[in-house]
C-alpha cells in the first residue's frame, strides 16, 4: 500500500515528494521505495520492449531497462552539484539524488503505462519503426522526469542557462553511451542471435556516424548483415 501511495504521490505532486524525501530522517526510508518503483516501472517497460522478439529477449530487456535509467543518473548527478555551484546555486547532493530518483521513477512508471500502446504497435510495424517508437516513448516520458530535477534546483544564481545546458548535455551523452553498452533491447523477430550484452565494439558516437553516412548512401562492408535484414524487410519476409 505504501508503494501505491508513493506512486500516486510522485505522479500527482513530484515536487512535493522531493521536498518530503529530502529531509534528514525521511531519505533513508523513502529512497529505497523510489528505487523499487523505478525498477518496477522499468522492468515492466523492458518486458514489453523485449516482447517484440519474445522468448529470452523479454527477461533480458526487462533486466537491462532499470540500468538504462539508473546508470546515467549515477554518472551525471555528482557533476551537477559542481555545475550549479559555478552558477552560484548551492544544491545538496542529497537533493539532486532525491530529485533524480523521483524523476526516474516517474519516467519509469509513465513508460510502463505506455507499455500496452507500444505492445499494440509492435504487432503492426516493422523493426526500424519499432526502434523509433521505443526511443520516442523514452523521450516523451523522460521529459516529465527531467522537469522534476530542474524544478528541484533552488532559484537564484546567475548564468543558470550554462548549468542547465551542461546538465542536459551530460545526461544525453551518458544515456546514449549507456544505451549502446546495454544493447540490444529490441531484437528482430527472425534473429537467432539472442545475447544479454553485445561485445563492446566502438561506441555510440561511431555508430551514429556510421548511420549518418549510411543515410547518404555511404556504406561499410561490416554492415552487410544489416543489409540482408534490410532486404528481408523490403520483401516482407519479416
Amino acid at each position: 500500500m505504501t508503494l501505491i501511495h508513493r506512486a500516486a504521490w510522485l505522479l500527482r505532486d513530484p515536487s512535493g515528494l522531493v521536498d518530503h524525501v529530502d529531509h534528514d530522517t525521511h531519505f533513508a526510508e523513502e529512497a529505497p521505495r523510489l528505487l523499487g518503483l523505478l525498477a518496477l516501472g522499468a522492468l515492466t517497460f523492458g518486458a514489453v520492449v523485449g516482447g517484440f522478439r519474445g522468448g529470452l529477449q523479454v527477461p533480458f530487456a526487462a533486466v537491462k531497462l532499470p540500468l538504462l535509467f539508473l546508470v546515467p543518473m549515477m554518472l551525471v548527478l555528482p557533476a551537477l552539484r559542481g555545475l550549479w555551484a559555478l552558477s552560484e546555486v548551492e544544491v545538496s547532493y542529497r537533493r539532486l539524488v532525491t530529485a533524480g530518483l523521483v524523476g526516474g521513477a516517474r519516467t519509469a512508471l509513465l513508460a510502463a503505462a505506455a507499455g500496452p500502446v507500444l505492445w499494440l504497435l509492435f504487432g503492426l510495424i516493422g523493426y526500424h519503426l519499432a526502434v523509433l517508437c521505443f526511443v520516442a516513448v523514452l523521450g516523451v516520458t523522460g521529459l516529465p522526469g527531467l522537469l522534476v530535477v530542474a524544478r528541484a534546483v533552488p532559484s537564484g544564481g546567475r548564468g543558470r542557462w550554462v548549468a542547465l545546458a551542461g546538465s542536459l548535455t551530460l545526461m544525453a551523452v551518458a544515456s546514449m553511451q549507456t544505451g549502446w553498452l546495454l544493447r540490444p533491447f529490441l531484437v528482430r523477430p527472425q534473429s537467432d542471435d539472442i545475447v544479454l550484452f553485445r561485445a563492446i565494439e566502438d561506441d555510440v558516437f561511431h555508430s551514429l556516424g556510421t548511420t549518418a553516412m549510411s543515410s547518404v548512401g555511404v556504406y561499410r562492408y561490416d554492415l552487410v548483415r544489416e543489409e540482408v535484414y534490410e532486404q528481408s524487410d523490403l520483401r516482407g519476409t519479416r
Partner: protein
Amino acid sequence: MDAVMPIIEEPATMDAATPTGSSLPTVREVTHGLGGLLALGTAGALGAHGLTPHAMPGVLWTSAGALVLTGPALLVVHQFLGLQAAPDRVVGSMAWALAKAGQLAMGLVPFQVFFSVTTQRGPGLLALLLCGLGGTGLLAAMRGLVDAERDAGSTGTQLMHVRGLALAWAALTLLVGLRLGWEVMA
C-alpha cells in the same frame, strides 16, 4: 505549464552574498579543487587505449597553470587601470573559480571513468570536459571580478573597464591553457 527555468539572466542582488565575491576560499576548499582537477586527469589517463601516466597531472597543469601564469598580469593591469576593487577580491575571484571548477572536475570523474573504460575516446572527452571546465570557471571568475568592482563602488566607466579587462584576461587564460594542454597531449 509554468516555465521551468528563467532563461533570462537574473541580476545579482546585493543581499545574495555569493561566496565567489565576498571572501577568499579556505585552504581546504582550494586543496579539494586541486584534488578534483588531479582526479579528473587521472580518470582521463586510464582507458582502453592504455595507461598514460604523463597525462594524469594534465588537467591540473593546464587549468591551474594557466591561472598562475596569467593571474599576476591581471593584478598588475587591474591596479594600473586604477580600478577600485581591493587586490584580495581580485585574487579571491580567481581562487573561487579554481575551487569551484575543481569541485566540478571531481564530480565529472565518474563520467570520465565510464567513457575512458568503455570507449577509446577517453582523451578526446577529457579535452572537451577541460574546455567546458575552463569556460565555466572563467565565466565565474569574470563575474567575481565585476562584482568586486561593483561592491567597491566603481563608476560606470570603471565597470566598463573591468568588464573589458575580465574578458581580455579570460581570453588570454584560455589561450595559455590551450597551449599548456597541447604540450601535455604531445
